[in-house]
């Protein structure tokens, strides 16, 4: 049992933190958010330069061969600065699926992803599905040597700027069956693809995407109907683990801002941090933060577990802890800031918003609590 990082991991963390400390303070973030397409392509190029976009890919694919620990470190650093760039959709979701794709697809796409010139996203969620991962109504059928895709995808993260989409679609079975789901790589500009991009509450972008009679050649099949769901599940669990780390970065930052404010804001002639009622609430925030950090570590450790049931239970447990902590820390941070916490001017509200969105993504706290409650076995 040890929590030590290797030398390379330490370097990775330091370089990511240094880059963001230099170029991603709260003011810079506002600028990045005004760039087209809602985040900074210049920053993205710097991520590529540092190798952050290469982390999870194998060395033979031109990547760094990193794993969940490396992704955790980067996600935490990004969470602390609320970066807007599409790291989750491109590297962790799209990339996570592509790195398990047949070689021809990897050769065609990964070079661009690693270089920062190709953006990916996962077009999976559908309006009716809520948090049921296997709920896929989008249909696909084979027509000669092409797949033909029809359906609507919702909340595709940074879907408006993606170059290629990993799309889940049902080849056979009922709407909620785990079997029968296939994963296809689709050019975002293919005929029949209509994208409608919009802002999300946390200052990022998402898109509603329609697929109408979209023809995809057979060699774009990533996973067939027997393996598609398992792959989707594995990558979703990896994404949740990274999201937990991102949340820890954000919770740590927002707690730091709050403690700083308690020390500097004066009322009744004294710093408000001298009031014990507030001290105890700040202490409880700290406890929640550290408990969340422990569970993010747990999620990281379990992200690569092969046994899907065991992994799922652990990941859900982590998401519950993160969700509870995020809610408490976020709300308390706003409250302890008083009126200023309500404004767009102050950073604290932006952390609160991102934390709230994280809570609602990939299954909310109730969803994951149910998953832990309904399954058995030690955590």
């Amino acid at each position: 049992m040890d929590f030590d990082l290797s030398e390379e991991q330490n370097l990775l963390r330091q370089s990511a933190e240094r880059l963001l400390a230099d170029q991603y303070d709260f003011e810079a973030r506002k600028q990045h958010g005004q760039d087209e397409p809602g985040w900074s392509r210049a920053m993205w190029a710097k991520f590529a330069e540092l190798g952050l976009l290469a982390i999870p890919f194998s060395e033979e694919d031109g990547g760094l061969g990193g794993g969940p620990v490396e992704l955790m470190l980067v996600a935490e650093a990004m969470g602390a600065k609320l970066t807007l760039e599409p790291y989750l959709p491109t590297v962790i979701l799209g990339g996570g699926i592509l790195r398990r794709a047949p070689e021809s697809l990897r050769q065609r796409w990964l070079e661009g992803v690693i270089a920062g010139t190709t953006l990916l996203s996962l077009a999976h969620a559908e309006r009716q599905a809520r948090f049921t991962l296997s709920d896929v109504a989008t249909r696909v059928r084979l027509d000669g040597d092409h797949y033909v895709l029809d359906g609507d995808k919702s909340l595709v993260l940074a879907g408006d700027s993606a170059d290629a989409l990993v799309v889940t679609a049902r080849l056979n079975g009922e709407r909620r069956d785990e079997g029968g789901i296939v994963l296809l790589l689709v050019d975002a500009k293919a005929e029949g693809v209509t994208r409608n991009g919009y802002a999300t509450q946390d200052g990022r972008r998402a898109a509603e995407i329609q697929f109408r009679n979209v023809r995809v050649s057979q060699d774009n099949l990533i996973a067939g109907p027997e393996t598609g769901f398992a792959l989707l599940q594995a990558v979703t669990d990896e994404a949740i683990a990274a999201l937990c780390a991102e949340a820890v970065g954000a919770m740590s930052a927002i707690s730091g801002l709050t403690v700083e404010y308690l020390k500097t804001r004066k009322q009744f002639g004294v710093p408000i941090g001298s009031f014990q009622a507030l001290q105890h609430r700040a202490s409880d925030m700290y406890v929640e933060l550290e408990q969340a950090r422990s569970m993010a570590l747990f999620a990281t450790m379990m992200a690569a577990e092969q046994d899907a049931a065991k992994r799922g239970r652990a990941i859900s447990a982590a998401k519950v802890q993160i969700g509870r902590s995020a809610r408490q820390i976020g709300q308390e941070a706003i409250q302890l800031h008083g009126g200023i916490g309500m404004t767009m001017e102050a950073a604290v509200g932006h952390y609160f918003k991102r934390l709230t969105m994280i809570e609602l993504m990939f299954g909310d706290t109730d969803h994951h609590l149910r998953r832990v409650a309904e399954t058995v076995g030690p955590l």
């Binding site: 049992m1 040890d2 929590f3 030590d4 990082l5 991991q9 620990v69 403690v259 308690l262 020390k263 941090g273 001298s274 014990q276 507030l278 001290q279 105890h280 700040a282 202490s283 409880d284 700290y286 406890v287 550290e290 408990q291 969340a292 422990s294 569970m295 570590l297 747990f298 990281t300 450790m301 447990a317 519950v320 802890q321 609590l369 149910r370 832990v372 409650a373 309904e374 058995v376 955590l379």
Partner: protein, 400 residues
């Protein structure tokens, strides 16, 4: 980074588990499993079995019986004891006064007291709290006045746990009334058989008899029973309190109780005749505690890893979390157990603890569940109340 235990640590856990399985008297285990407190004899016998094995006082200096285990092994050892469940060592000797004597006592005191603590030949109790000195411990008023080669002690201690069995009591006493609060306190070892000591039981809300008041009326204490220097007692007390870290979260205890909660909620039935566990509301309550406990377990590992890296003795700020969350989880598990018992928690049959022949009103564990719940309210009060832990976090960690 690897959060799993090493092969060696896993093997060690197995070794401890096997040892407990073969050596823990069955009746002791059964008593604890059904929710009873261990008896005096349970505790003494088990301590002697451990002592024979060389595991009585793992964390002490090796010269005095320590095993030289690092923090992780010490933790594993305690977790195994807690989850067996075996009686935990009598903390007042093994975790409290023992380390203080080993660190600050005279050679003479070490030879006289330490081996007898390890073998539980002497039962120690803790005389810190007083009616007017609880969280604000430094306001103790019991006095010790030097008279030749003796101290004359007058005053009152309270909340003295298991003082009814005690041969010795270690006390914080005021030796300098003029000095500032903390600096006039000394650490004194007192024989409970000394003339002038009276003990009066306090009955706790569970009907239990575990705490006492202790009165000192002109008690003569040989001066060689002063630990360290006069008026330095507060430093030794701080050392003592900071020592009680490994196992303070009592994760093993909560794990064991959760195991039983899971088992019982599958066999006990809800009003509609289905097992309790199939009620989603109840299953989710269990899941919430499981998640809390897992998070705390990893927090505990982080504390141990930091301790291993930084060497012993440096208090880790995370240990306040261990106390705070650990006590909340313990309390929550007792609530759940009582909720499983439902109506069978109502009957109050303290005589059953003494082994009555009458059949219990409900299952034995159920009859004890409310008492256990009442009793567990103490864990967020003693050992630095949860409010005090929050003060510590605010001051020492957040700098407020």
């Amino acid at each position: 980074m690897d959060l799993r235990f090493t092969d060696e640590e896993v093997a060690f856990r197995q070794e401890v588990r096997d040892f407990i399985a073969t050596n823990l008297p069955a009746e002791t285990r059964e008593r604890l499993q059904s929710g009873h407190h261990p008896t005096r004899d349970d505790i003494v016998n088990w301590q002697r079995i451990l002592n024979e094995k060389g595991w009585a006082v793992p964390h002490w200096p090796e010269e005095w019986g320590g095993t030289g285990w690092g923090p992780v092994k010490q933790y594993i050892f305690r977790e195994e004891l807690q989850s067996a469940p075996a009686p935990e060592p009598l903390a007042f000797g093994v975790y409290m006064v023992g380390p203080v004597i080993a660190e600050y006592g005279s050679e003479e005191q070490k030879k006289r007291f330490l081996p007898r603590i390890a073998n539980l030949d002497d039962w120690w109790c803790q005389g810190f709290s007083e009616p007017g000195a609880g969280s604000d411990l430094a306001s103790v008023r019991t006095t010790a006045v030097r008279d030749g080669d003796h101290y004359i002690v007058n005053g009152q201690k309270t909340w003295t746990t298991l003082g009814q069995y005690a041969d010795w009591i270690f006390c914080l006493v005021r030796t300098d009334k003029e000095a500032k609060k903390q600096s006039g306190i000394s650490f004194l070892l007192i024989d409970m058989k000394s003339p002038g000591i009276t003990l009066r039981p306090i009955v706790t809300i569970d009907g239990g008899r575990e705490v006492n008041e202790v009165f000192f009326d002109d008690v003569r204490v040989p001066a060689d029973q002063l630990v360290g220097e006069e008026n330095r007692g507060w430093d030794y007390a701080k050392f003592l309190l900071s020592n009680e870290r490994v196992g303070i979260a009592r994760i093993g205890v909560s794990k064991e109780r959760l195991r039983r909660i899971r088992e019982l909620s599958a066999s006990e039935h809800a009003s509609d005749g289905t097992p309790l566990i199939s009620d989603p509301r109840f299953a989710e309550k269990i899941a919430e505690v499981e998640i809390d406990l897992k998070a705390l377990e990893i927090t505990q590992m982080r504390v141990l890893a930091a301790e291993r890296a930084e060497g012993k003795g440096k208090p880790n700020p995370l240990s306040s979390i261990l106390k705070l969350k650990g006590s909340q989880i313990q309390q929550r598990t007792t609530e759940l157990l009582m909720e499983i018992a439902g109506p069978y928690a109502l009957a109050y049959e303290p005589e059953r603890e003494e082994g009555s022949n009458e059949p219990p009103i409900g299952p034995e564990w159920a009859g004890l569940s409310a008492s256990t719940y009442f009793n567990a309210r103490k864990v967020s009060i003693y050992g630095g109340s949860n409010e005090i832990q929050r003060n510590i976090i605010a001051k020492a960690i957040l700098g407020l």
